[in-house]
């Protein structure tokens, strides 16, 4: 309603009636409404309840735009999450379904709110044809008080029923004063160069989208681009790195290892030293825990145990446990049959992991492993060998022994001639074989 199109410079913009209280304003608004004017507006320093009715303003259709855009937000929120989570970048998270409605509701809700709020705000501006550079009323000194303690009704000269004398009389009733607002020939619309900048800025926003699109359809050998690298490259020493910290010109650690190794002959807190067989895989009469320096076979030389620790009962339940633990921790590399063809090993072959120093997981049925003593296998499971890491932190000693037992069972089961296989219950087979292998050693 505040809109105007100044016709000729000579003609004034309109007439302004100023009132000093809300009731006078509302009465004036009702009179102007009833007189049938269309190009007019009321200005108040604060929102006035009842002004819509007094001015005869019809309800805005902005809510419908907001509702439409809110529903668009709902559709966009749900579709966007479905595409990202279940389609474009399908990624299994903690066993949840790839796409599940409850997880999407909070984000969809926020998108609805964002779409609705921005639509309402910018829709309100657009419907009021805002922003604009200038308005004739701003050039009128008397109008300034409308921001503090005056109320104004403005009838524009562009109104078809406008008649200066009549309008002046109409506005004068109950008013403090009626003043003429001169026309303003300064430019109201935004300058052309601003449109140009807006167009260029809009085009620039397409660049990230284009880069994302290109990224999705091309491959690169460079490390990914990081804006902030302080998470990837932190000032700290990691276990496999060397350190070159010196204290007073002397290296902090002579060997330069990032992670310190256990001092020989010591026991860490919480590390039991109660059972040499069970904890270290060496014979009971061994003097101290296993040494540190690997020998020719990749493990330290020690009086390795050949059988199983006396503390453990080797039975079918023990083997079942070993099969299960082997399936969880070992099979991804060594394969469920221990043949060295686990999914990680296959993948490493695919991408030629050897280029980066990857050493293929051993075929546990090969003679090199078969010939190792039980204690050696137990030690490798706990401490690792070549590129295999040690699992002592994840797998308790009892379970590592169960895994050793299962490895023996696998070796025996694959090596045996089917004609020599014991008769009877299939589940009894491994335990029988285990006795066979132990007996053979």
């Amino acid at each position: 309603m505040a809109d105007s199109k100044a016709t000729t410079p000579a003609r004034p913009y309109g007439l302004v009636g100023l009132y000093d209280n809300v009731d006078a304003l509302l009465a004036a608004a009702r009179r102007v409404r009833d007189a049938g004017f269309t190009n007019w507006d009321a200005h108040t320093p604060f929102p006035v309840h009842g002004i819509d009715k007094a001015m005869g303003i019809k309800a805005t259709f902005l809510p419908w735009i907001t509702l439409t855009m809110g529903l668009c937000g709902l559709a966009f929120g749900i579709f966007g999450q479905w595409w990202v989570n279940a389609k474009g970048y399908a990624f299994l998270i903690s066993g949840k379904p790839m796409w599940s409605l409850p997880a999407n509701i909070p984000v969809a809700f926020e998108v609805i709110i964002a779409f609705s709020a921005f639509t309402t705000f910018f829709g309100m501006l657009a419907l009021n044809r805002l922003p604009r550079f200038s308005h004739p009323l701003h050039r009128l000194d008397a109008f300034a008080r409308v921001t503090s303690d005056r109320f104004a009704v403005v009838i524009e000269s562009g109104d078809p029923r406008f008649d200066a004398g009549q309008v002046r009389g109409l506005l004068a009733i109950g008013s403090e004063s009626v003043v003429e607002c001169p026309a303003d020939d300064s430019r109201a619309s935004l300058p052309g160069w601003l449109h140009g900048i807006a167009a260029i800025a809009t085009c620039l926003t397409l660049i990230p989208l284009a880069m994302a699109y290109r990224g999705r359809h091309s491959t690169s050998q460079k490390p990914r681009y990081a804006v902030w690298t302080d998470m990837s490259f932190q000032r700290k020493v990691k276990p496999q790195q060397t350190i070159d910290i010196t204290v007073g010109g002397v290296p902090l650690f002579a060997d330069g290892r990032g992670a310190r190794v256990q001092v020989p002959g010591t026991i860490a807190v919480g590390q039991p030293f109660d059972d040499m067989e069970l904890r270290y895989g060496v014979q009971v009469n061994a003097a101290s825990p296993v040494g540190l320096e690997p020998g020719a076979s990749g493990v330290p030389d020690a009086p390795w145990l050949t059988g199983f620790p006396a503390a453990l009962t080797v039975d079918s339940a023990f083997l079942d446990r070993g099969e299960q633990r082997f399936g969880i921790y070992c099979s991804v590399c060594h394969g469920v049959r221990g043949d060295g063809l686990g999914s990680v090993a296959l993948r490493a072959k695919d991408i030629r992991g050897a280029r980066w120093g990857w050493i293929d997981p051993k075929n546990l049925q090969a003679s090199a492993t078969v010939l190792r003593k039980n204690g050696e296998l137990f030690h490798i499971a706990g401490h690792g060998i070549s590129t295999m890491k040690g699992y002592a932190a994840q797998i308790p000693a009892e379970d590592r022994w169960a895994i050793v037992a299962w490895v023996r069972a696998l070796q025996a089961s694959q090596a045996i001639d089917s004609k020599r296989a014991p008769e009877g219950d299939y589940r009894e087979l491994p335990i029988g074989l285990l006795e066979f292998t132990q007996g053979g050693r």
């Binding site: 509302l26 009465a27 309840h49 009842g50 009715k53 007094a54 809510p63 409850p102």
Partner: protein, 431 residues
């Protein structure tokens, strides 16, 4: 818009002639309660859907009666404490628009007095003897069998339960009495100092309300499954509470307008505002209910999901879906439009709808617990157990509560005539 609102005379807004309807409500209440007890003990209620491996168990009718009564009590209680919240809120925010309907909310809180006796009789007293048909935690043998409940025995025990219920009701009835007393006295002396006084304690009153409503929700409803817990439950309870109060406010205000006491006092603008609150709390309830659900769904920890599990996967599935649709989606879309909120007949229909679904909400909260914890019973597959006692218990409890509310209305003015903000409220406009 009225430039200068006409204050109605005392005679115009005086509510009279409610003694007879109140007596009828009381009679209906007595009949409802007696009917419920009759059905429960006559065996008409049916029997346990599954045999217990242990043989002996309490009669199905009696246990069901306890739960039916609890649903009705919670339905009425949420409405009444919603009324108290409305009064405190208006004073806390020094609201002007609501003065013309505040007396209605004040009258609704009168229902708290009969509810105190119902809660004591149905919920509290049996726990003092160590054998509640409603709360499993109160049964000594059950608590000994369940370490988690045994662990909570310091809080969940009969005497302390009694003390807490008495404290809640003392605070509610005390606050409701305080606000009613000053509001009615202001009709006589027109003293604006009373408004300041009511305003002054509203902050403390609101904190007390929040604490008592939360703990009452924990004690009366959440402890039905004492192994389950939700910190959101109190807010959930409150959201439903204020939702139903707004519906009640619409219906009582319309009724008084039709009778003439609020004619030309309560206007379309006031109904529009109450409608807005009804709409807002439709959303708020859904927001809270979903927040409670989603965290448990996401974490997927058995001790937390159990409560939802037998509501979602089993005979209660349909009711759960009906609740999500009927308590959220349908009223949200229905109450969205301004025209709905400004049309008395349509708004009244939605108010009735809301009260029905608030009942279903309470039913959904309480009834699956009828089977939970009972040996041999599976709450997920015991059926939704609609029973004639649900109806008689509802009629009974509402009869008593309505009796108290009508008694409070009778012989008093329907508007807070002495409130200094009355003129502001009378000429209130939304736009």
């Amino acid at each position: 818009m009225q430039a200068h609102a006409t204050i109605p005379t005392r005679e115009q807004v005086m509510v009279r002639g409610l003694a007879k309807p109140a007596t009828v409500a009381l009679a209906v209440g007595v009949i409802g309660i007696l009917g419920t007890v009759g059905i429960a003990y006559s065996g008409l209620a049916g029997s346990w859907p599954a045999e217990s491996p242990y043989g002996h168990q309490p009669a199905f009718g009696v246990v069901h009666m306890g739960h039916s009564l609890l649903v009705a009590i919670l339905w009425a209680l949420t409405m009444c404490i919603g009324g108290l919240f409305f009064i405190i809120l208006q004073h806390l925010t020094t609201a002007g628009w609501s003065v013309v309907v505040r007396r209605v909310a004040e009258a609704v809180t009168a229902g708290l007095v009969p509810l105190l006796f119902l809660v004591l009789a149905v919920c509290v007293v049996p726990t003092l003897f160590g054998s509640s048909y409603i709360y499993d935690w109160a049964n000594t043998a059950f608590a000994d069998d369940h370490p988690l409940i045994h662990h909570k025995a310091g809080y969940l025990n009969g005497p302390f339960f009694l003390v807490r219920v008495l404290v809640y009701f003392a605070i509610w009835i005390g606050l409701a009495g305080f606000y009613s007393k000053h509001s009615l006295a202001q009709d006589e002396d027109q003293d604006p100092k009373r408004t300041l006084k009511m305003q002054k304690i509203s902050g403390v009153a609101m904190i007390l309300f929040a604490l008592t409503a939360t703990f009452a929700a924990f004690d009366l409803s959440m402890s039905l499954n004492a192994e389950w817990f939700s910190t959101m439950y109190g807010v959930y309870f409150f959201a439903g509470s204020f939702w139903s109060l707004n519906a009640v406010l619409v219906l009582f205000s319309l009724w008084l307008e039709k009778r003439g006491q609020l004619k030309n006092v309560v206007t379309t603008e006031h109904f529009h505002d109450i409608g807005k609150m009804l709409f807002a709390f439709t959303f708020f309830w859904s927001y809270v209910a979903f927040s409670q659900f989603m965290l448990y769904w996401y974490a997927d920890i058995p001790e937390e999901t159990g409560w939802f599990h037998y509501r979602m996967w089993g005979d209660w599935t349909a009711l759960s879906i009906a609740l999500a649709a009927g308590h959220f989606l349908i009223p949200m879309l229905g109450l969205l439009s301004r025209h709905v909120k400004r049309n008395r007949a349509v708004l009244a229909s939605w108010a009735v709808y809301c009260l029905v679904f608030h009942y279903i909400d309470m039913y959904w909260n309480v009834m699956p617990e009828l089977f939970n914890g009972v040996p041999g019973q599976d709450p997920a597959h015991a059926g939704t157990t609609w029973n004639p006692m649900d109806l008689t218990a509802f009629v009974g409890v509402v009869g008593f509560v309505l009796f108290a509310i009508l008694k409070r209305f009778d012989g008093k003015s329907a508007v807070a005539l002495g409130d200094p903000r009355l003129p502001e409220s009378l000429r209130f406009e939304n736009f």
